[in-house]
């Protein structure tokens, strides 16, 4: 197996492929080694790819076709079961001329048509041009690990792996979507399937799209979705743990690359430790582990990571991200995103990727564990709040909430649960995950955002969550996170942080079987004993040293953002406030944000929850405005 990191692009009204080439130029960072474009001049359709050859990819040039040149494929991603698929296809009489997994896609399409997606285990965004049927097929993987942006125009379609590439050939698309900016401020990421630019959308995870000229343009349909309903069979916990372990180890095995150094980013938490443990057991080479620390703030996970590395016997590397490095790299990184991202963990993840890249080709990640196995503490708190809410009448609840708050002995989670007890579940969840930015919009928004309906963000989120039906509130929230937060924040961050450093990050938990198994286990099993019970039970005793090191930490790569904003990033923040387009164009109120900045700088308050998304957005919009000038 070999890794291919790529960017793909295509257009249905581009007979010479010039627009596709222009898009590919913008995707160069995703694939600096090779470029390919296939044009069907008669149909006017071109598809292309930029490819990074991480390992020997002889014969891997794309787009790739079948023997008679009637089916062409541009493929971004990794198919972990391609060896098995190849065997199966050979047995059915298909012949292969390369070792590339893209060729498997070509033959799978011949065999199964659009349903080929069901045979694929892995992360992907792909485009298949079927010349005989004059039909384009686009598909995106189950969880949204690989991106795909779309623009429909007069029955024609343009697509690209990154928004910026798509914008390169659509100069008419320069209008930011105020509703998306509103959503961005609330969530700190742009929720799909829209984008921050009007006229551009994303193919949602687990969806495919077919396009035929004159046949109504593009038709989209869902081909997979995360499980929505748990079951409660009388199963022994040990049997469930054993099954989870088997699936997890299978996932690690299929994602390891033979004779290639593999790395794991250790945060000291349960997920990365478990991933590292399995990788160390299964890898033919000594495992490389990486961790990050900072020269500011109290956040330091390096001690626990070092302990874990000693246990594993891995070759361990520590990076200290200094204030100078933060000042130097962060503004460029935030601006370089193809869509703005306000997730502060982007900074350490990208720095670690760059740090690891000379030493390893592929890194294994624990993304998705919290969403699939119930790791976020809010699941437990919200469940308790829901139970209390259903058991007590409203006035009693309000009274209890007041008493609890007044008692002043509660942790943040308990306070929030008490405070939010009376609101509908979706609002409670939203206020929890967004640090209540929703309620602070009023004072910070400028005239350009004044027209956005304040409840729209809530309505959109409710629509994505779907009806509660027979699901438990916790299952419902876990499902919402899997279709929203996971693809649009976590996986967006992982893809871009890795790609900018030319490092491929393979997620272990985002495995079809493992995720479907997790969805089939009752949430009460997941949440027992502090959450993520099955994941914790897979760890051997003693590997997480003790509570002294933070015990079972819930968040990977915590970031001293408040300190950075007061220190190395203060000049950029002030510069933004003075000249930033989001203030110039009236999206945000300069005076109100200025007041936040002053309070934060004077250490009267920690406003990093609001200032970090504003900084990310501001830097991105400034670059977006300069796009036409290059």
């Amino acid at each position: 197996m070999f890794a291919q990191m790529c960017g793909i692009a295509g257009r249905t009204d581009d007979p010479e492929g010039s627009a596709v080439r222009a898009m590919l130029a913008r995707l160069r960072h995703r694939g600096p080694d090779d470029e390919g474009v296939h044009s069907d001049r008669a149909a006017g359709v071109s598809i292309g790819i930029r490819r990074l050859a991480v390992m020997d990819v002889e014969g891997g040039h794309q787009p790739m076709s079948n023997e008679d040149g009637s089916v062409w494929v541009s493929f971004n991603g990794e198919i972990y079961n391609h060896g098995k698929l190849r065997e199966d296809l050979r047995a059915r009489g298909h012949t292969f001329s390369t070792t590339a997994d893209t060729e498997v896609i070509v033959h799978l399409y011949e065999e199964y048509g659009d349903e080929l997606v069901h045979a694929l285990e892995g992360m992907f965004a792909l485009a298949i041009w079927d010349e005989r049927r004059s039909r384009l097929l686009l598909a995106r993987d189950r969880f949204g690990e690989k991106p795909l942006f779309l623009h429909d125009h007069g029955g024609e379609l343009t697509f690209a792996s990154e928004l910026t590439a798509l914008l390169e050939v659509t100069p008419q698309l320069r209008e930011l979507d105020p509703a998306a900016i509103d959503a961005f401020f609330v969530f700190a990421y742009v929720p799909g399937p829209g984008s921050i630019v009007r006229g551009v959308r994303q193919l949602p995870p687990g969806h495919l799209l077919t396009w035929e000229r004159g046949a109504g343009g593009s038709v989209e349909r869902r081909w997979w979705s995360p499980g929505e309903r748990e079951i409660a069979p009388p199963e022994r916990f040990e049997a469930l743990v054993a099954e989870a372990k088997r699936l997890f180890e299978d996932s690690v095995r299929t994602r390891l690359v033979a004779d290639v150094p593999v790395g794991v980013f250790l945060s000291g938490g349960v997920d990365s430790t478990l991933v590292a443990l399995a990788a160390a057991e299964q890898s033919s080479q000594r495992l490389q582990t990486f961790t990050i620390g900072y020269d500011v703030g109290a956040v330091n996970e390096t001690l626990q990571a070092r302990h874990t590395a000693e246990y594993l016997g891995s070759e361990h590397h520590e990076l200290t991200l200094t204030r100078e490095q933060v000042a130097e790299r962060t503004p460029g990184l935030l601006a370089a995103m193809d869509q703005p991202l306000g997730d502060r963990a982007l900074v350490p993840l990208n720095a670690l990727s760059e740090f690891a890249r000379p030493r390893v080709t592929v890194a294994l990640g624990g993304e998705g564990s919290d969403e699939l196995f119930g790791g976020y503490p809010r699941y437990r708190w919200l469940e308790r709040a829901a139970r209390a809410h259903s058991a007590l009448p409203e006035p009693a609840l309000a009274g209890i909430g007041g008493l609890l708050r007044g008692a002043g002995r509660l942790g943040r989670g308990e306070q929030a649960a008490a405070r939010l007890g009376g609101a509908p579940m979706i609002e409670r969840n939203l206020d929890w995950v967004t640090a209540e930015r929703r309620s602070r919009r009023q004072g910070l928004y400028g005239p350009r955002l004044a027209g956005v309906a304040r409840e729209r963000v809530l309505d959109d989120l409710s629509a994505r969550a779907g009806a509660l039906d027979e699901r438990s509130p916790v299952r419902w929230l876990m499902h919402l996170d899997q279709v929203d937060y996971l693809p649009d924040d976590v996986l967006f961050k992982t893809d871009r942080a890795g790609m900018l450093a030319s490092l491929e990050i393979r997620t272990i938990f985002l495995n079809r079987e493992l995720s479907e198994f997790a969805a089939s286990v009752d949430t009460s099993v997941h949440l027992a004993g502090g959450g993520k019970a099955l994941v914790r039970a897979m760890l051997p005793d003693g590997i997480i040293a003790s509570r002294r090191f933070g015990g079972y930490r819930k968040t990977a790569f915590r970031v001293p953002a408040a300190d950075w904003l007061r220190g190395p990033l203060a000049p950029v923040l002030r510069g933004q406030l003075e000249r930033g387009a989001i203030y110039e164009e009236g999206y945000f109120d300069r005076r109100a944000v200025g007041e936040l900045v002053r309070e934060h700088m004077a250490q009267r308050a920690d406003h990093s929850d609001q200032l970090w998304p504003l900084l990310s957005l501001g830097l991105w919009v400034d670059r977006f405005r300069g796009l036409d000038g290059g």
């Binding site: 199964y112 069901h118 929505e228 309903r229 009388p234 079987e513 479907e516």
Partner: protein, 382 residues
Amino acid sequence: MADRPRLLILTPDFPPAPGGIQVSALRYATGFSSFQTRVLTLGAPGGAAFDRDSGCSVRRVGGGRLPRAASAALLNAAALAEALAFRPHAMLCMHIVASPGAAAVRAVRGAPSVQVFHAEEIGARPRLAAFAAGDADEVIAVSEYTAGLIAATGATPASLRVIPPGVDLPRDAGPLPVERPTFVTVARLEERYKGHDVLVRALALVRAKIPDVRWVVIGDGSLRPGIEALARSYGVSDSILFLGAAGDEQRNEWLRRAQLLAMPSRLPAGGFAGEGFGIAYLEAGAYGKPVVAGNVGGALDSVADGETGLLVDPLDPVAVAGAITRLLDDGELAARLGAGGRRRAQELAWPLIVGRVEAVLLEQLRRGGGARRRTLSAPTGV
């Protein structure tokens, strides 16, 4: 007839509850002509009426809402009482949870005991399995796979034979017309290892080749809502017919209609045993239908790859889909494997199997097995 030796069949599982062990126990209870047989089992809804109609001598204790462990304890205690009342000359113990009772009766009465092993129970309770295997005069494993599981507990049975469960040969096994290409699965939806999840994944691929394919799911259980949800995840619900716990007649009709039976049982993780033999494969064979099964565990004993069905990697939906599609597409192959299945079913028809087990029991009587009175040595905490 009163001078026939008395045989006590100890079994927690007995009809009218459905299941393989239940059916076997009933066959033995009604089939041994050389013995006067009594069944000691657990109380069950509809049990009394069933026992009246079956013509068996059945004693039922406990059951109902009692937890399984408490019921087993009650069954073992009742075995001793039955030793005094019925004074058995031999015992057939259908499940290891009744083995302490069998051991006690053996110690008290000197009656030889034959212990039947399936599979699942060995992985779930290895220490009790080892005790049961070591204490019995004769061990019957339903498959080579089961024999391997017994060996893995470290037990050294005095004597071990592999005798699979039998199958009923239907009087009318002819195919019934069916309007859509159909494959069927017959299994309770209680155990993940039966592979319903993999069949959902496979169905999405089968549909790509055979758009009007239909999967008929016979059996019910707590896994069903999850499998239904999984089908929705894949958008294949409209190709599935969940029949629930169908009666024998309805099941048999579907076996006559369907082109094949698919049940890709896998080995559960963590040493849990999975499919001991897979009687469903033989039942399909009895109707001349080929099967798709996993290439692991007890299915290796019940299905001959390329002769009665296709054995595939039960975890690989592409392989499972490929085998199902092949049999739906290739009528000639399906007919050939179906005929093979029919021959295999004839070799393992219930009268032959009952005869083999009866011969084992008679031989034990002849040998005077169990006469050595041993001290009870049931391990604690089993």
